[in-house]
Symmetry: C2
């Protein structure tokens, strides 16, 4: 499971770098579909990931306001802070948590802990796919988002310990 | 791990259904980014998933030719056949396979079995994200691709058996 998050963070950073060559206008320009702009997409990805993880851990949800993060650098900073929060939480993850029942302030439903983690993983990959269409339309060469070839399992035999194989 | 595949197949079927209302012209129309058309995207998703799974299991890679599948219904049929192949393979998956070294005919590198499964999962989600931008531009209401709320873990306590928690 953690490797999927690491993948998302790696790809996210590569997209931040690619988009750092864009003007402020290009970043906030309204586009068709998805969240409507590149900046809003980045913000949404970071916000959703951190909010769900904080919520299922019973922590206060920080609820950042987009209006205060209307630059790529500010969102990138928020993203790194958020990754610290999420990473600390994931380090405590074990398969035993998978079926833990959790709730979140924005829904009356209860969820499984593992279901939320997968939701957050999928959520980011989906929105990154949207960025790739927009960036192509702007003449940018999209980030190579292949999972394979990033060496996630090279230095890592955690499976042998019988945990963290999600 | 298997749940991610089930998620992808569920979402893929919903996209097939949504796109079945489109004309042939709309399906093959050249679009910016990604694979360049809706039909090519569906074909690519199915082809990549099945090819990798066949290859890492040492089976013959079927290598379907896009020219023979230039309709939504033909690709949908191919998708269902492919899901059978992949599903049978996944049913044999255990955490012990994760670090099994595998090779594929189209690369001189070797990979970890688990790394390939994750690659295939991420690959489809990314391309579905691209479809969502194109469909929006065509005035379609994109499929709700949330992972959460699909009940993946409701009837499923496989984790208790200590396997299939990826």
């Amino acid at each position: 499971m953690i490797d999927f998050f690491k993948y998302n963070w790696m790809v996210r950073e590569e997209w931040f770098s690619l988009c750092s060559q864009l003007s402020e206008n290009e970043l906030v320009q309204e586009r068709q579909g998805g969240l409507g702009s590149i900046l809003k997409t980045f913000f949404h990805i970071v916000d959703v990931e951190c909010s769900w993880i904080q919520a299922i851990n019973g922590d206060v949800v920080s609820e950042p306001n987009y209006e205060h993060y209307k630059s790529l650098e500010l969102i990138r900073e928020l993203s790194r802070e958020s990754q610290d929060v999420v990473n600390k939480s994931l380090l405590n993850w074990t398969p035993k948590n998978e079926y833990k029942s959790v709730s979140v302030p924005w829904s009356s439903k209860t969820y499984y802990y593992g279901e939320v983690l997968r939701h957050v993983i999928v959520h980011e990959i989906h929105h990154i796919g949207q960025l790739s269409i927009w960036s192509n339309a702007m003449g940018l060469k999209a980030v190579n988002v292949n999972y394979i070839g990033r060496g996630f399992m090279d230095n890592d035999k955690r499976i042998i310990e019988g945990r963290d194989i999600i």
